[in-house]
Amino acid sequence: MQNNIAITPELVAQHGLKPDEYKRILDLIGREPTLTELGIFSAMWNEHCSYKSSRLHLKELPTKAPWVIQGPGENAGVIDIGDGLACVFKMESHNHPSYIEPYQGAATGVGGILRDVFTMGARPIATLNALRFGSPDHPKTRHLVSGVVAGIGGYGNSFGVPTVGGQMGFHTRYDGNILVNAMAVGIAKADEIFYAKATGVGNPIVYLGSKTGRDGIHGATMASAAFDDAAEEKRPTVQVGDPFAEKLLLEACRELMQTGAVIAIQDMGAAGLTSSAVEMGAKGDLGIELDLDKVPCRETGMTAYEMMLSESQERMLMVLQPGKEKEAEAIFIKWGLDFAIIGKTTDTLRFVIKQHGEVMADLPIKELGDQAPLYDRPFVETPKRPAIDPKSVTPLMGNANAIVKLMGSPDFASKRWVWEQYDHLILGNTVQSPGGDAAVVRLGDGPRGLALTSDVTPRYCEADPFEGGKQAVAEAYRNIIAVGGTPRAITDNLNFGNPERPDYMGQLVYCIRGLGDACKALDFPVVSGNVSLYNETNGRGILPTPTVGGVGVVDDVSKTATLAFKAAGEFILLIGETKGWLGSSAWLATIAGREEGAPPPVDLEAEKKHGAFISSLIQDGHATSCHDLSDGGLAIALAEMALAGNMGAKIDKLPEGLPNHAALFGEDQARYLVTVKDQAMAAIILRRASSAGVPALMLGKTGGQELTLPGESPISLERLKKAHEDWLPSYVAGEI
């Protein structure tokens, strides 16, 4: 393949560059680019790397707090969690690859996000994931569910990090475009964080890890194939993950970091060698020169173009202290990994690529990033939907049956089948396993720990992107509070449709505003994230899905709460106000088949106040169990607490002035359920609530093997459990 072929408009288009973007390239470099250069620009200026549609709006997110060590802009965010420790975390999407090849797509998604975290000097201690599939009836869904779950487990289990939480939902709007968002969390010493910024002229740039092959050279492959005389079989564009190599890479990198040899480090993720090298140079105001003849390759005859665009996995780039090369090499050889010095830093601010002694690319390094196109795309606000009066909706079935049906519906059914395929116990620190509100992971021998969760309710975001954005943050906040943690910071993964459509762009803009408002009000800043656009199925965008990954600190893991009812005869209290909000509720969607109405408004002041109240109950040891209320409302929360504890409850009282279905299934926000030991304690808590201005109501008592609600026939736990546990295994087995 020739490097200096004429660049035609077709070639430019095949590289995903618009004519005016190409013009910008010509203006920047003052000549026609070589093919390799065109490839480099296309990689740096695509949506994924340049955030050209979202950058303007992401600026609105609050990213600061006294405990934030590193906000967005590095491989992962970093917060101070006390005791000299830092928590390093980020979430990233692998949506499109997972639809093409679910196992490898999901596996390499996990691999990529783990690398982002350990690149910063942290040891990964937990992963989470957020999955959205199409309708269960869609012919591909079953295969995608099995493949994605196996891929996530396959990678994380082998790498040796517990997968402690996540979410999984189904909706027809994801039929042709599933979402696979993976989050990794690591721990480092607060003063031993590593960054991507290169320093020093003439320092060696080393390549580490696995060899480079022609993996994942996406759409651009076709362009290159057209210039390849050797007719070869059409190459798959999927990357294959090697968790074993990644585990070795982790250990080798950590050993090397200890030696003080590492000046800068950057993993090779999307756009591999190109973006990692450019980032290191540009951040350090240095030029970079690479000699591709030195790059360890898995295949023969790779061109400069292919090497610069390859997305082979399990690779790293580092700038080393001069003189430390031998020491570094010995470590990598011990771990059986490739090590090669492939270039050096320069003072030219140019990105120079050589192969076979020829210059294949010579570009201004800062401009590759700084001058990337930035779009202020037109957007329109989603029209407001009317609020639904709870009294105007007549239930289609009895409330007891509706609870059973909801608990066995795809979104609410137990995800045990999923998380039993994930090693959630390795490292011996998982205090709260998947299945609760937030996972709790102890740090070392304790007593400190982290509370981790991932949340979003796409149905709300579709109905009202602003409120939906707020709600995603509020729910992550509540989940952390409910286990006894202090919410600290979030990472987000913004999954949206085509930003060139003003309606979808509007969803992105308003969701970001909602996230931002909630983060500000709740002191819960954004420290890292990822944007995935152009998610659509048959020309229709997915539901707007701004996934939030929340991290909280737990001061003492022995003082946490779980959602399981603990003992018979305990008193159940509802904290927060119930108005019976049925708009965009799960009940309305699943039982009445209507996805309508405004979603529940989120009162951030109430979230804060109620959260503080719950925290104090848990800290004082008064709450014997705790669960936040989210979609499905009070009824689902009660059912989940009963099943988790294998202990029924008798409810005597529901929030007043509402029809039962609205009291039970309304999705008003800022609510929690707690249990307390006895009546005396319940009275104390009610008094405390009233003086704090927090609505609280005593509902009834735990006990028995049934869930009994006022005016409804009792539901046996056995029936509830069967509905809840059977759906997913039967579904994947093809039995339903």
Binding site: P236, V238, V240, D242, Q313
Partner: protein, 80 residues
């Protein structure tokens, strides 16, 4: 009738298994081994005796389940 379906990775697709085995063999001092790629075989008993029919059946089996057509190729042999 007996048949064998052989499934191999497409060229260029990373084979972590093969790579690890290759490394192990080399470390055992088995010099002369340059590279290893791993594949799978499925030995299948069929109750048909018509080769053409068997071929159709096996093709369906391979494409539906035995091979992942995104990264793998397959070959069918009727062993009689």
């Amino acid at each position: 009738m007996k048949a064998r379906v052989t499934v191999t990775l497409k060229n260029g697709v990373l084979d972590p298994q093969g790579k690890a085995i290759e490394g192990a063999l080399k470390s055992f001092g088995l010099e002369g081994i340059e590279s290893v790629r791993q594949g799978k075989i499925f030995d299948i008993e069929l109750n048909s005796s018509d080769p053409a029919e068997a071929e159709t059946l096996l093709k369906a089996a391979a494409e539906k389940l035995l091979a992942n057509m995104v990264v793998e190729n397959y070959r069918i042999e009727i062993l009689g």
